[in-house]
């Protein structure tokens, strides 16, 4: 009894302590924020008048990639991987753009909701196939990436469709201050409204559980197969959000998938999500997307031979992960 009260007493901590404990528990995110600051400083050094417009460009530019990274993070945390994120983005973007073209604003709202439902459905199909066939995730989603891209191409052969003006306005330009890009606000709202409550719910715990140890999760009473499908459905949902971001950003849709799948994997790994499942979050991957973006534009600003730029990006991808595993090793051995 006394032990219990003592434990309760120990749990009562101040805000400052909570922050320090969060920093201690999330060194990776702290490091990413540090990197972000460093690259901002470098950018500012390279282009002295880099400022609010640059930040706005960042906000809108990283939105689709960040949503794709969130999509990938969710499924990887749950012990899977989804190589069809880019194709689902193309398909949902195409569907939304084709349906929205020339329609009223109200109709466009319906299209947006319908597109999200489509994303959930696509993801759920991926998940159900994995559960039903017992074929490894990476194989099923690789194959499905062809299927979804093919369906997008069946719908339109060439870039087309349109986006409702309000949708385009939602992610473009500043909000309140010229330093706050709407794109980032939208991202924060989406993640805040979907991921954070989810993560705190039993559903979220179950997702982490099946990613961490399937057998233990099953024995703890988690409906493992159902959760797997849910995790893919959530990935589909965020992929469709990313697809909508493409539509909103460009005002139309292309049936050819962009490079989002592999970039999302790079981002989640840099963002501290373990490819083995069970560990990580979505904030790290989003920060990683921003860091990768800044690295890319810094390379452009330096005026490096663009082909060397490709080399440098590869080196950075490897280097940051290497640094991460090095830090992780140091952390294990105090």
């Amino acid at each position: 009894m006394s032990a219990a009260t003592e434990a309760l007493g120990r749990r009562r901590v101040g805000v400052g302590e909570a922050v320090t404990s969060w920093i201690r528990r999330s060194p990776w995110i702290v490091a990413l924020i540090g990197l972000l600051v460093v690259f901002f400083a470098i950018t500012k050094m390279l282009v002295p008048n880099y400022g609010a417009p640059g930040v706005q460009a960042l906000g809108i530019s990283i939105l689709p990639n960040a949503l794709a990274a969130v999509a990938q993070a969710i499924v990887v945390i749950s012990g899977g991987i989804d190589l069809s994120v880019g194709s689902m983005m193309a398909l949902t973007s195409v569907v939304s753009a084709v349906l929205m073209k020339g329609q009223s604003d109200i109709f466009a709202v319906g299209v947006v909701l319908g597109t999200l439902a489509l994303g959930v459905l696509l993801g759920a199909i991926n998940g159900a196939l994995i559960v039903a066939t017992r074929v490894p995730d990476i194989v099923v989603t690789l194959a499905m990436s062809f299927v979804w891209a093919g369906v997008a191409l069946l719908i339109i052969h060439t870039p087309g469709g349109g986006a409702a003006p309000w949708l385009m306005e939602t992610i473009r330009g500043p909000l309140v201050s010229e330093w706050i890009p709407r794109g980032l606000v939208v991202l924060a709202v989406l993640v805040g409204a979907i991921w954070i409550p989810l993560r705190r719910s039993n559903l979220g715990l179950s997702l982490f559980a099946i990613g961490s140890n399937r057998l233990a999760a099953f024995r703890s009473g988690v409906p493992v197969d159902r959760m797997k499908i849910v995790s893919y459905a959530l990935t589909g949902l965020f992929s469709s959000l990313a697809g909508l971001a493409l539509t909103a950003n460009t005002g139309n849709a292309s049936p050819v998938p962009g490079p989002y799948t592999l970039e999302s994997i790079a981002a989640i790994v840099l963002g501290g999500v373990s490819l083995a499942g069970g560990r990580g979050g979505v904030v790290g991957p989003i920060l990683a997307v921003a860091v990768l973006y800044l690295i890319r534009i810094d390379l452009q600003f330096i005026g490096i031979n663009p082909n060397f730029g490709t080399v440098v990006q590869g080196v950075i991808l490897i280097g940051v992960v290497m640094l991460g595993s090095f830090l992780a090793l140091r952390r294990v051995r105090p």
Binding site: L275, V311, I318
Partner: protein, 332 residues
């Protein structure tokens, strides 16, 4: 009381479905060859008269480089890894080789092609083995590095010409006796070495061991970093050989020539029964997997499918094949 199920205890254990499954799992070639034959039959039905010796030669000639690249994936997948850099490395080896023939002669050119692949493989292996970078990330990063470097190299070599030496043309695109692709003269011994090596060499054993349980392998005295460095170096060299064959087949080389074969090489290894999770698989199945994929592509071309439907069917068929295979063998 409720009955939980019906017993099968009294049946002869040698004839149960489980026994069949085990046989099929241990001998993945049986169901895979069945599938291959089924595809050939379908093709013959779709387009009567297509199946001839020379046709088979064309299929095999196309499948051989894919099988070699899928061999890279097989080796990596046995250890629980993957090698997404095979496309970039194969293209690099072939391109470096082809641009050096005019100045340095074919022998130096081929050695240089192998040399740059070897260097890339060692770097990849060190990254994965020593610095413990996840293979997916390491090989993805390496393919960016390699592609960028080759693009830079290309600009310096615009005037050097691209020449594929005759022996490589002979291997890559010519046939003997009217139908037998010459690439088999390289491929048959090569695959014999790989198949035998996986079963009968200490190193082959270690690939399975590392993929099955790296901790156990370490405790048994295996220096895993050595195994991985050699693995990714071998993979790069195999990729270079595939790159040469593809250059021979296309009679040209370019910095991204082999990129389109990367995802099919993963698919071929998977269809061939190698577990992407490590510890189980083999090269014989991979060869059949590469043949199956090649046939599938041919079938879709033959059916005159529009690109969109081709993609849908390609993906759907991979899922169906992998699922059927899993169902038949009872293993993921």
């Amino acid at each position: 009381m409720t009955s939980v199920g019906t017993g099968t205890a009294e049946r002869n254990p040698w004839l149960t479905r489980a026994t069949w499954r085990r046989i099929l799992r241990d001998q993945p070639l049986i169901p895979l060859s069945g599938l291959l034959i089924a595809l050939v039959i379908v093709l013959q039905l779709v387009q009567p008269g297509i199946v001839t010796a020379s046709w088979a030669g064309v299929i095999v000639r196309q499948a051989v480089p894919l099988a070699i690249l899928a061999g890279c994936q097989t080796l990596a997948m046995l250890t629980g890894g993957i090698d997404l850099s095979v496309g970039a490395v194969a293209s690099m080896a072939a391109f470096v080789m082809a641009t050096l023939v005019n100045g340095q002669g074919p022998v130096v050119a081929v050695l240089a092609g192998l040399g740059v692949a070897l260097a890339a493989g060692v770097v990849t292996g060190v990254g994965i083995g020593v610095f413990k970078v996840h293979p997916l990330i390491m090989t993805l990063g390496m393919s960016l590095v390699v592609l960028g470097l080759v693009a830079v190299y290309q600009l310096a070599m615009v005037l050097s010409g691209v020449v594929i030496p005759d022996p490589i043309l002979w291997l890559g695109s010519e046939t003997s006796f009217g139908f037998l692709p010459n690439s088999l003269f390289l491929f048959v011994p090569l695959s014999a070495v790989i198949v035998l090596g996986l079963r009968r060499s200490g190193y082959g054993r270690l690939l399975f061991a590392v993929g099955d349980n790296a901790i156990a392998a370490r405790l048994a005295g295996v220096r895993i970093w050595q195994v991985l460095i050699v693995l990714y170096t071998l993979s790069a060299l195999l990729a270079a050989i595939a790159g040469f064959l593809i250059a021979g087949l296309n009679k040209t080389a370019s910095p991204a020539l082999v990129e389109s074969a990367v995802l099919p090489s993963v698919a071929a290894a998977v269809i061939g029964g190698t577990s992407i999770l490590g510890g189980r698989g083999g090269f014989a199945g991979t060869i059949v997997g590469a043949l199956i994929l090649t046939l599938l592509t041919t079938l879709l071309t033959t059916l005159n499918m529009p690109e969109a439907m081709r993609q849908v069917l390609f993906g759907a068929i991979i899922v169906v094949v992998a699922a059927a295979y899993t169902r038949v063998t009872g293993e993921a």
